[in-house]
Amino acid sequence: MQKIIVGIKRVVDYNVRVRVKPDGSGVALDGVKMSVNPFDEIALEEALRIKERGEATEIIAVSIGPDDAQQQLRTALAMGADRAILVKTDQAIEPLTAAHALLAIIKTEQPDLVIVGKQAIDDDAAQTGPMLAALWGRPQATFCSKLTINGTVATIVREVDAGLETIEVDLPAVISADLRLNEPRYVKLPDIMKAKKKQLDVTDLATLGVSIDDGLKTVHTEAPKARAKGILVKDVAELVDALKKKGLVS
């Protein structure tokens, strides 16, 4: 195998609790810490391990987003990606458009494997991987928790609702990484320095010939309804009494 493309999305950091703007126009992002989508870190880690086993020669990190997404691509380069491509857009895009942009990159780069996170923790859509596979006319293996490559065939263990499903796909294919695929490495300082010298190309949707699909629009954002605060009971007897009163235990 030669090339692996990894999708890297810039998202609000995992530890930040987002707040909805009072005017309903979205969530407040000013001054909020941004990071690489955690599932994309897992995707990249898997690509790095494949390369370290000698099963791939080049890893390209691709992000679609604002100019600032270069920071997340630098993180990916510091983790070990060989080069990076930013598809610049200042407009929020739906996964369908993201999939078209990735497809355009794929047509140029001709990768043998694409690995993305199973979902981004901002929009929680979980669509880009399977959409890309559909547009590309190639296999998809979503929710991957184990990946084995044997020549031109990959075997994937998928975390599904019923348990663990194993499928086999012909390469090239799109894999979406689940939590337990691996534990991503920490970035070391010398690697951050080295990453600054790695190649990072910037392009945009228009250059790639991709138009933004506006078939789905977000018209309002609101805070979720809060649950009413409950009570603390002092012991097991009081708990059982409370549950009996509600008819939840007999």
Binding site: D123, P130, L132, E159, L164, L216, T221, L239
Partner: protein
């Protein structure tokens, strides 16, 4: 008029309760007509279950040995072939639906709505983002098909009482051979199903070992409850992956949810916020789980659980 096609989810024998919840969501589209499509090697018994769901106008069966297992790459072109006469195509927001529906949407060239949690109009839906910390209203452009996954925890299951017609149709789109099913390893269990059980007992990191996690099974047996787990408990190997509840696991809405030794990270809370009653047992009085619990009990779970079992008789 809206014509809604729901892709039935099943294990080859039984219809999934998730599909009955999709029917309830679809039934909220005013003036809609609901069709359930059963793709299977032997759709008969599944179709009969589907036909009994209140609100379903018709059930169509697509019999094909290729559908003995549900592979998105094989199913999606067949769904697309049927899609022409429908305005809406729904699937449950389960691992089956999340795998299949984006592939269908992309082949149809339309965006997809993930985790629809309420129907505002035939083209307008609410859905959660940021692990449920914000809710957005999305609008599908008038001339586009609506493809969505339905957040099952937001809708009750449609009840039996209907008598829909069942008819066989054919969908013979070429299916790729580049994706092949190998096997499924499912923990054989006669316990209630986590996704649909009225009662769930979940354990977290504080159980501290796989052996101790048996305490959760024991309490669950007493309550005739399904067993769940936090991500921390699954990562530590105390419980298997299909038991994970939360943003990246199962989103559930039981009548009773008992969280034992779970601190309550927002990613876990998003999986349980639709539970009718939440009970939290944790030794840390500051744990965020107490913010959402209806009844909280602060203390050592290793003392509380045996006492609770005893008190339940």
């Amino acid at each position: 008029m809206s014509k809604i096609l729901i892709i039935a989810e099943h294990d080859g024998k039984k219809l999934s309760p998730a599909s009955a919840r999709c029917v309830t969501c679809a039934a909220q589209i005013a003036g809609g007509e609901i069709t359930l499509a059963v793709f299977a090697a032997d759709p008969g018994p599944i179709a009969q279950q589907a036909a009994r769901l209140t609100g379903v106008a018709q059930v169509i069966t697509i019999t094909d040995a290729r559908h003995a297992q549900s592979l998105a790459a094989v199913l999606a072109p067949q769904v697309v072939q049927l899609a022409a006469s429908y305005t809406h195509i729904f699937g449950a927001s389960t691992t089956f639906g999340k795998d299949l529906m984006p592939r269908v949407a992309a082949l149809l060239g339309v965006p997809q709505i993930s985790d629809a949690m309420s129907v505002e109009s035939p083209t307008r839906f609410k859905r959660p983002i940021y692990a449920g910390n914000a809710i957005i209203t999305v609008e599908v452009a008038a001339n586009r098909k609506v493809v969505a996954t339905v957040r099952t925890a937001s809708f009750e299951a449609a009840l039996d009482g209907g008598a829909a017609t069942i008819s066989a149709v054919s969908a013979d789109a070429p299916a790729p051979t580049h994706t092949r099913y190998v096997s499924l390893s499912a923990a054989a269990s006669d316990r209630p199903d986590l996704q649909s059980a009225p009662r769930v007992v979940s354990g977290g990191r504080a159980l501290a070992s796989k052996e101790n996690f048996q305490l959760i099974y024991s309490l669950a047996d007493k309550l005739n409850a399904a067993v769940g787990a936090s991500r921390a408990a699954v990562d530590a190997g105390y419980a298997s992956n299909e038991l994970q509840v939360g943003q990246t696991g199962k989103i559930i809405a039981p009548e009773l949810y008992v969280a034992v030794g779970i601190s309550g990270a927002i990613q876990h809370l998003t999986g349980i916020k639709d539970a009718r009653t939440i009970v939290a047992i944790n030794k840390d009085a500051e744990a965020p789980i107490f913010e959402v619990a209806d009844f909280g009990l602060v203390g050592d779970l290793f003392q509380i659980l045996p006492a609770l079992e005893a008190a339940l008789g």
